[in-house]
């Protein structure tokens, strides 16, 4: 039982263990930037970063989306790439407060 729990923990950790650099490349290669922007800021698609949703929810949407985004199954987006993409999104720094940007307060 303890060993099984340890394995589950390893799997969960692995899901978050992608490389942000690899993830940025995968984010572009798989066309995520198209709707979500190169920095995950959103556009036609939802904002993904900074502070992305929990990995489990993120993964579920990517794999099984029935909304506007087409699903990305494992055959076209590996678990490793998915984890790297998530790592990239997590690496994106928090946006400045808009009240500190003069152009957004014209």
């Amino acid at each position: 039982m303890r060993f099984a729990a340890f394995l589950l923990l390893l799997v969960a950790l692995d899901a978050h263990a992608g490389s942000a650099d690899d993830g940025k490349a995968a984010f572009i290669r798989h066309g995520c930037y198209e709707c979500h922007g190169f920095a995950g800021q959103g556009g036609v698609g939802k904002r993904l970063a900074p502070e992305p949703m929990a990995f489990e929810a993120f993964s579920a949407i990517v794999r099984n989306s029935t909304n506007a985004m087409p699903p990305y199954q494992k055959a076209i987006l590996s678990d490793a790439d998915l984890a790297s993409i998530y790592a990239y999104l997590r690496s994106i720094p928090k946006a400045p407060d808009y009240t500190s940007i003069p152009l957004l307060n014209q």
Binding site: G31, N67, I101
Partner: protein, 655 residues
């Protein structure tokens, strides 16, 4: 080749003026009269022609008698007809099939009212006329070669048709197979050139006499300018243009007087029923697409919304409702309505339903957005289409009160009916709706700015930053956003305060890509004459359909600030291909680009600034660092203020 004697023009004009004055219903505009003091006073139209005029009708002016064409060319009379309708410009790509009227316009007509604008593509010419109308409220005339030229023009005509914009299209054609020149002119002739565009023009005709032309041109203008507006088409025979006028015995050519047709107003009983439903609603919602044809339409819509304290969704076909008004809302608010009033909607079904392109077997899924029992009201001048081939009428949506009438023309009656239907018992609910709307509007405003701040310093430049850097340089001017035609490019609407009718002109109508550049330049031409500053966000793909329109802008000194939304791809299509690959569980082939093969515009990158410079524009780029954008905009705005067009090649995020 010897130049013609100016006196010849004068005498010819006298002849035609006299001929027209003799007609039963003639009325020449001041523009149609000679601009010289030597002209004899015009006889009132009610009087019979003088002996001099009567002689002129059957005789040939002396100077013209020496010409190869023994008489007054028919196309001179056509120019007189055109001049009665106050058409300021004629964007066109020159062609042999309308050489007769072309020569008459520039030599007999003095190249004024209309002024010929040199275009390099018929699609550009119609696109310019499309944009011009939306800024000026007046239609333009364009001439095109009857077959190949009209084929070029056809997509732009379709856009105008879908967008309810009047354009007077005249195509040259040579009908007489026995007399027309062989070779290319014959290849470029057809039995019925209008057939090519008949499915997406309001009306067309093929005049076979000059009097027929006069009637048809005025009729075409009248039909085009009656809401719902739309393009019209006339086929103009080469022989009719070039041959001398041969009036039949006793016939006097005349120009029918143009009297505008009042826009159709909805049935009064239906208006009262609509008012009753709206007055009794708990949460009425107004949705407008091409409702405000004029600035007055905006004012009326504000009155209606404030009377009800109803939230308004502006779908952006026109500038319908100020986005600074607390009643302005996003499309999601439709789901909370119990009575929805749709005003000139392109797609009522799509307004109250959702389509998700992600269903089983590659087929999309439909779902309703509305609560059960929601009542729907429609006022539309185009809900009952008169054409059936092209599917711009969208899916069929049943509504509870359906009114065939122009929304703007009907709003005064609806407002009065609503005032009568509202009682003191409604006031508390109305007040509460207003309070909720103010709160929601303030939240939406803050949310838009929070979202704009994300990726603020990104390179390529975020589209939010692009529009706000631009706004900083134009906000104190009487600006007009004449183009922002990329799908999903909504930041100006979310961040710029838009309160005037000319601050947003709507999109292409038919989604025919290639509209943005010519329509922006056409609108900028109108704004130049009206003293406004024109700005566009120019998509890269759109510009490359017919970039020659840049030369037209420089040639005719049309000031426009074009800030490029250069995202280096056809991003709508990019996602379609990606979607297909995902549905089929296949890795999408992106080759060496950043999008699926066939959707990227890179390798090599197009140097749009050099393209624009080569055609006489001030231009700069590529600008990838957002910090470089402000100084470049400052320079570009100064150029545009001096009366020249300027383009910034800015590399941006996709959307």
């Amino acid at each position: 080749m010897a130049r013609k004697n100016p006196r010849v023009k004068l005498e010819r004009r006298k002849f035609l003026t006299g001929a027209v004055a003799a007609g039963a219903a003639s009325a020449l505009s001041p523009a149609a009269r000679p601009a010289t003091s030597q002209e004899a006073p015009r006889a009132p139209s009610a009087l019979p022609p003088s002996a001099q005029v009567a002689a002129a009708e059957t005789g040939i002016p002396a100077a013209l008698a020496q010409s190869r064409i023994k008489g007054v060319p028919g196309s001179d009379f056509m120019v007189d007809v055109i001049k009665t309708l106050d058409i300021k410009y004629l964007p066109s790509n020159c062609a042999s099939s309308f050489r007769g009227i072309h020569e008459s316009l520039i030599d007999y007509g003095g190249n004024r009212m209309p002024e010929f604008l040199s275009c390099m593509h018929e699609e550009s010419a119609v696109g310019m006329a499309h944009g011009y109308f939306k800024a000026a409220g007046k239609p333009l005339l364009t001439l095109c070669h009857g077959t190949v030229g009209l084929q070029h023009a056809s997509m732009a005509i379709y856009n105008a048709y879908c967008d309810h914009v009047p354009v007077i299209v005249v195509g040259g054609n040579d009908l007489d197979a026995a007399r027309r020149p062989p070779g290319v002119p014959t290849i470029h002739s057809a039995q019925d050139i209008n057939a090519l565009v008949r499915d997406f023009t309001k009306w067309d005709d093929t005049p076979v006499s000059l009097q027929h032309f006069a009637q048809s041109f005025v009729r075409a203008y009248k039909i085009a300018m009656t809401p719902p507006y739309g393009p019209v088409m006339l086929s103009l025979d080469g022989g009719l243009q070039q041959e001398p006028i041969h009036p039949r015995e006793g016939e006097k050519l005349y120009i029918p007087r143009y009297v505008p047709t009042a826009p159709p107003q909805a049935d009064s009983g239906a208006v009262k029923e609509a008012a009753r439903l709206l007055a009794g609603a708990q949460n009425p919602v107004i949705v407008a697409d091409r409702a405000a044809r004029t600035a007055n339409g905006m004012s009326l819509l504000v009155q209606l919304a404030e009377l009800l304290q109803a939230r308004v969704v502006d779908q952006g076909g026109r500038m319908n409702f100020p986005n600074t008004h607390y009643l302005r809302a996003g499309p999601a608010v439709v789901a909370s309505g119990d009575v929805i009033l749709g005003l000139e909607l392109t797609d009522f079904w799509g307004t109250v339903n959702a389509f998700t392109d992600n269903g089983e077997d590659g087929i999309g899924q439909n779902s309703a957005r509305l609560k059960p029992g929601t009542r729907l009201i429609s006022i539309s001048s185009s809900e009952t289409p008169s054409k059936s081939n092209y599917q711009n009428f969208q899916r069929f949506q049943s509504v509870d009160v359906s009114m065939d009438g122009d929304a703007e023309a009907t709003l005064p009656a609806l407002i009065e009916a609503l005032k009568a239907a509202l009682s003191s018992s409604h006031q508390d609910a109305i007040r509460k709706r207003g309070e909720a709307a103010r709160k929601a509007h303030a939240q939406a405003r803050a949310r838009a700015r929070e979202e704009a701040a994300v990726a603020w310093d990104a390179s390529p430049i975020s589209t939010a930053r692009l529009v706000m850097e631009t706004f900083a340089h134009i906000k104190d001017l009487d600006w007009s956003l004449v183009g922002a035609d990329s799908p999903g490019f909504m930041w100006p609407h979310r961040l710029w305060p838009m309160e005037k009718h000319h601050q947003w002109l709507g999109r292409s109508g038919g989604y025919g890509v290639g509209y943005g550049a010519p329509a922006s330049i056409g609108a900028a031409l109108a704004n130049r004459d009206l003293g406004r500053f024109s700005v566009s966000f120019q998509p890269d793909g759109d510009l490359m359909y017919a970039p020659g329109v840049l030369w037209t802008a420089a040639r005719h000194k049309i000031p426009l600030l074009a800030v490029m939304h250069n995202n280096r791809g056809y991003h709508q299509e990019l996602m379609h291909v990606q979607r297909m690959a995902n549905f089929r569980n296949r890795v999408c082939n992106i080759g060496n680009d950043i999008g699926p093969v066939g959707t990227a515009i890179q390798n090599p990158d197009i140097e749009y600034h050099k393209l624009a410079q080569s055609m006489g524009w001030w231009a700069k780029g590529p600008i990838k660092d957002p910090a470089e954008l402000g100084p470049a905009l400052k320079e570009a705005v100064a150029v545009v203020k001096s009366g020249q067009p300027a383009l910034l090649n800015t590399w941006t995020q996709p959307r």
